[in-house]
């Protein structure tokens, strides 16, 4: 039976590579003979030319830089607020009592809808973009840190306490390292969300960035620019998630999860 058996690996890898190549070749060919409207879907070589042009003119770098700067500004603020807040939620009960209901409402709601409120409060500049990025990427970090801190082995804390550790040392040497895997998971979940909100804010509010380039391409009916932007975002997303995976592997060298 073919289904659910062990695949022959080398064989399938070849098919994988071939299917991607075939996809692009077919796309290119179909577009060249004029079977698809080039406005709706420009052929890959055109998109590549566009990207090359934007790269040469330095525009691509400016856009990527703008997007990444905003994203990391928001993301790092979210980490700086989110991790301590998550630890507080797990370890201080009045904080938990007050914020638990608020969090359970705020978590599943579409936080993007708050963008106009941030624009009202902070104006149409980068502040409101960054505020939305913080707001959207904060929740997974808080929740994962909270869950991670909450599930620490009690005996670890107790034995440290009975050995007479100060509260500060307990936090830095026991609680945070023990909660690290889940804190990192929170960061890993939040990263694509931060990228997503960066793109949305740029699409809605303009400004130099990949999202701005995408929306410009749409408005000016410049399909290669539009699709070039999509490709750029895809590459950015890929690089960021891979980078985060690597960072996790580095930081978790001491942990069991790396021993496998």
């Amino acid at each position: 039976m073919a289904g659910l058996t062990h695949p022959r690996h080398w064989h399938l890898t070849t098919i994988r590579v071939l299917s991607v190549v075939a996809f692009f070749v077919v796309w290119e060919l179909v577009a060249r003979i004029g079977a698809i409207n080039p406005f709706l879907l420009p052929r890959p070589s055109l998109i590549f030319d566009q990207l090359q042009f934007e790269f040469m003119s330095g525009e691509l770098m400016r856009e990527v830089q703008g997007t990444l700067l905003r994203m990391f500004a928001g993301y790092s603020v979210a980490i700086v607020i989110g991790v301590p807040f998550g630890v507080l939620l797990a370890r201080v009960w009045p904080v938990r009592w007050f914020f638990d209901p608020l969090l359970s409402i705020a978590l599943p709601m579409p936080q993007i809808a708050f963008l106009p409120i941030f624009i009202l409060w902070l104006g149409v500049g980068d502040q409101s973009k960054i505020a939305l990025i913080v707001f959207t990427s904060l929740f997974p970090i808080v929740v994962q840190t909270w869950a991670g801190t909450d599930s620490i082995d009690k005996y670890l804390v107790w034995s440290a306490q009975s050995l007479g550790v100060s509260r500060r040392a307990l936090l830095w040497q026991i609680v945070l390292p023990a909660a690290m895997p889940q804190i990192l998971s929170g960061l890993q979940i939040a990263l694509p969300i931060a990228l997503l909100s960066t793109i949305v804010t740029e699409m809605l509010m303009g400004g130099t960035g990949v999202g701005g380039s995408i929306i410009n391409g749409m408005r000016m009916s410049d399909s290669p620019e539009l699709f070039g932007g999509i490709v750029t975002v895809g590459v950015l997303g890929f690089a960021l998630t891979k980078g985060m995976d690597n960072l996790r592997r580095r930081l978790m060298l001491w942990h069991q999860e790396s021993q496998a």
Partner: protein, 232 residues
């Protein structure tokens, strides 16, 4: 409490944060005039349409990818290629393809819902207990029967968890596409009242979206536990 008192006492400019009572009033007004229900229905119809298409196609694709290694190597690889693209970036593409109407919003929601459902259905189907398949085959079930009666049902719990993620994404895309496309829907109502300077109305619309997202998630969670009660 803090929210109600702060603008009234003049700590915050009431333009920037209207008091809770003002927002409630605007919400009620919008409800009675039929504005809010109109946009809410428009939003939810798009959401449900995109989500439903995503659920059906996502589960079928995910399960068949787990069933046929060849399909997984071809279609699966192409699907994987689109993983790192934030779904919201595709809204302009959908506008170019489907125009400024409900269809581009639905397509955007569909494209966002598809991935988490494919992945979870795939993982669920891969995780089918092989002894179940062997015993079904030994009892003389055809491959088609095994697929429909063993593999598909055992992929459902995982797929349903994927749908929960998809619902959250659907709401994000619903709002984003309505911000960008306009015309109808709660996202449009938010940007419209915001541009008009009717801030209490804007806060009311934002809170409606937030509440809907919350209720959808909780409601689905209830539905999920109820539907999966046959599991131990």
């Amino acid at each position: 409490m803090l929210w109600e008192v702060a603008p009234r006492a003049g700590w915050i400019n009431p333009e920037m944060l209207p008091s809770l009572a003002t927002v409630a009033q605007a919400w009620w007004l919008s409800l009675v005039t039929g504005e809010l229900p109109y946009h809410t229905v428009a939003s939810l119809v798009n959401c449900v349409a995109g989500l439903a298409a995503g659920v059906v196609i996502g589960i079928l694709l995910g399960v068949s990818m787990a069933w046929h290694p060849l399909l997984n190597a071809t279609v699966g690889t192409l699907v994987q290629m689109t993983f790192p693209i934030p779904r919201t970036a595709l809204v302009p593409v959908m506008i170019v393809w489907f125009g400024l109407g409900a269809s581009s919003k639905i397509a955007a929601i569909f494209s966002g819902c598809l991935l988490p459902i494919i992945v979870s259905a795939y993982n669920g189907a891969r995780g089918t207990d092989p002894t179940l398949i062997w015993s079904a085959l030994a009892l003389g079930a055809s491959r088609r029967q095994v697929l429909w009666q063993v593999v598909l049902p055992s992929a459902i719990p995982d797929a349903m968890a994927g749908v929960r993620t998809a619902i959250a994404i659907a709401f994000v895309l619903m709002v984003t596409s309505e911000f960008l496309v306009g015309g109808r829907g709660l996202g449009y109502l938010i940007s419209f009242t915001g541009d008009a300077g009717a801030y209490p109305g804007m806060f009311a619309a934002v809170l409606t979206v937030a509440m809907l997202g919350f209720l959808a998630d909780r409601g689905y969670l209830k539905l999920m536990t109820w539907m999966l009660r046959w599991r131990d």
